[in-house]
């Protein structure tokens, strides 16, 4: 299945990954090869088969609704590329 460059641009936008003009043709070719591989699935009859999201069909575990974590916000803020006064800094969003 071929993937045109417009589709790759749309996917790049959805995935928030900048792809350069020079590599877009190559990326579209490679994605086409992979989608051709996965297209084998279309030939399988799966009528009535329940999709399997978890290998063991385990029940989701629950816990009491109480705080167990200690406050480590400073440790995590220290990892940020830019932070100030307990907040993550990003470029201006609202003019």
């Amino acid at each position: 299945m071929a993937v045109d460059t417009q589709t790759v641009e749309k996917l790049a936008e959805l995935a928030r990954i900048a792809i350069s003009e020079e590599t877009i043709e190559e990326v579209s070719g490679r994605l086409g090869d992979i989608l051709q591989l996965v297209d084998q699935l279309q030939a399988v009859n799966t009528d009535g088969v329940v999709p399997m999201a978890h290998p063991l069909d385990e029940v989701q575990t629950l816990r009491a609704d109480k705080v167990t974590e200690t406050d480590q916000h400073q440790s995590f803020l220290n990892l940020a590329p830019q932070s100030e006064e307990g907040l993550y800094l990003v470029p201006k969003v609202i003019d």
Binding site: I19, V49, M52, T61, L79, V90
Partner: protein, 481 residues
């Protein structure tokens, strides 16, 4: 000292034939001297190792040491280590120093192991050759022109080169078993949920599972016993009683029923690899096991199903790397969209970007049912094949990989050809079953792996079966160095 197995190290440490400090210094020196040839470590934690070794020696002297106390290990660089860079072999996390330990690191630290460092891997565990690391490819100690397999290639190569006796690793589609096969080591992927994934950077959450790579089954059993625990911090962690996986290693395997799937011996399997695997099956017959022909009819659909499910989950899991809270941020972003796009475009390598794009495609409007939902239905068919097989047999055996290690660069230009390297291992992850790879011979002086797939939670039996084989053969003792 580097030639000792974990079991031998335990005996030596407990009898005080040598100290953990001596052992640790010896292996650190060996890493420093030899690893430039293999590139199996991203970070060597000399200071931490020496302090842990000192503490271990004190515990041993006081007579209060757990079994693994003082034994050196290494951790795959996808596993978070408090205060130690955890890069996932990516430019994106080149500067990431977690403020916590993953549960398996906590468990192994609690057992007294000594951390020598963090091992190289395919970026974000995406790969079958260990060529996609930001820190350069790992070389196979058996032939440094060849790949060690991926994505846990650093862990496997470090064990094969006798730089460390055992290491942690992760397996999403074969990433413990495939490099184990290509480096003549023993690698075990437990049942999904057996080992906590908390603190392990997620690739495909419904498939990822951590396990050990070691020199033999006995050593893998020691490591697994310390790694397994129920973890309330991981909602998929199984709550089962603690098991000592070394306890049943010596049990007889007479009467064991071994399923041999016809689909694992078809076109695409290297003839000499097939011959080594068949020889191994004959050894099992000599030990009293019975070979049973079985069929796993949906085997050929495992790769297409995996390459929808894993990228779909990866595209969601890797959305957290946005240049805002941690990891790489581009220079001078002009707005928030530019910050996201360029940080991720610069931070992620080619294969990671490719899988995120495929995942975005599979999950996008109009394609969800045709790809993602369909793949999850096929996944159930694959699981049902195994469930039916395990009604007749105790374990399933076949080759781990289609051929021995290939040369660096041989498949880099063709991602689909690379994906086929995991053809025999992926179905196990889709079904959530435990699997392992053990050495079973050489082809042109390159190792061949025998894959053992067990029933759910049957790791003890797999280790017993592997250990019994290793009592009557010496392939696992063949050394690359």
């Amino acid at each position: 000292m580097h030639q000792l197995t974990i079991a031998e190290m335990i005996r030596g440490l407990q009898s005080k034939a040598f100290s953990s400090m001596e052992l640790t210094r010896h292996l650190l020196a060996r890493i420093q001297q030899l690893d430039s040839s293999y590139n199996s470590f991203i970070t060597v934690t000399e200071e931490l190792a020496l302090s842990q070794a000192e503490a271990a020696d004190q515990r041993i002297a006081k007579g209060e040491a757990p079994t693994l106390c003082g034994v050196p290990v290494a951790h795959k660089d996808i596993i978070c280590t408090n205060g130690i860079r955890t890069s996932c072999a990516s430019k994106m996390l080149d500067n990431f120093i977690p403020p916590y330990d993953a549960t398996i690191v906590e468990n192994l630290n609690g057992a007294g192991t000594v951390t020598l460092g963090k091992t190289n891997m395919d970026e974000f565990a995406m790969g079958s050759s260990n060529e996609s690391s930001y820190y350069g490819p790992v070389k196979n100690p058996w032939n440094t022109r060849c790949v060690p397999g991926g994505s846990s290639g650093g862990s496997a190569a470090a064990v094969a080169a006798l730089l460390v006796p055992g290491a942690t690793a992760t397996d999403t589609g074969g990433s413990i078993r495939q490099p184990a096969a290509l480096t003549n080591t023993t690698g075990l992927k437990p049942t999904y949920g057996r080992v906590s994934r908390w603190g392990i950077v997620a690739y495909a959450s419904s498939l990822d599972q951590a396990g050990p790579i070691a020199r033999n089954a006995e050593d893998a059993a020691y490591l697994l016993s310390a790694m397994v625990s129920h973890d309330p911090k991981d909602s998929t962690s199984l709550n089962r009683p603690h098991e000592d996986f070394t306890a049943g290693l010596s049990d007889s395997i007479a009467g064991l029923k071994i399923g041999v799937p016809k689909e694992y011996f078809g076109e695409g399997l290297n003839a000499e690899t097939a011959a080594r695997v068949q020889d191994a099956l004959k050894e099992f017959e000599k030990l009293g096991a019975e070979l049973v022909d079985i069929s796993l009819p949906h085997t050929e659909l495992a790769i297409p199903a995996y390459y929808v499910i894993a990228p779909a989950e990866a595209s969601a899991n890797l959305s957290r790397f946005d240049g805002v809270r941690y990891g790489h941020r581009c220079e001078n972003p002009k707005d928030l969209r530019d910050l996201y796009m360029r940080s991720r475009g610069e931070g992620f390598g080619e294969e990671v970007q490719r899988r995120i794009l495929v995942g975005s495609y599979a999950l996008s409007a109009g394609y969800y049912d045709a790809y993602y939902n369909k793949a999850q239905q096929v996944r159930r068919l694959i699981k049902q094949d195994f469930v039916q097989a395990f009604e007749k047999v105790d374990v399933i055996m076949g080759p781990t990989t289609p051929s021995p290690a290939f040369e660096l660069g041989a498949k880099g230009a063709d991602p689909v050809a690379m994906y086929l390297e995991d053809i025999y291992t992926i179905a196990t992850n889709l079904a959530g079953l435990p699997g392992m790879s053990i050495p079973c011979g050489l082809v042109n002086n390159l190792p061949v792996g025998l894959q053992i797939t067990g029933n759910y939670l049957d790791e003890s039996r797999m280790l017993n079966v592997a250990h019994q084989y290793q009592q009557v053969t010496d392939w696992h003792q063949a050394s690359a160095v």
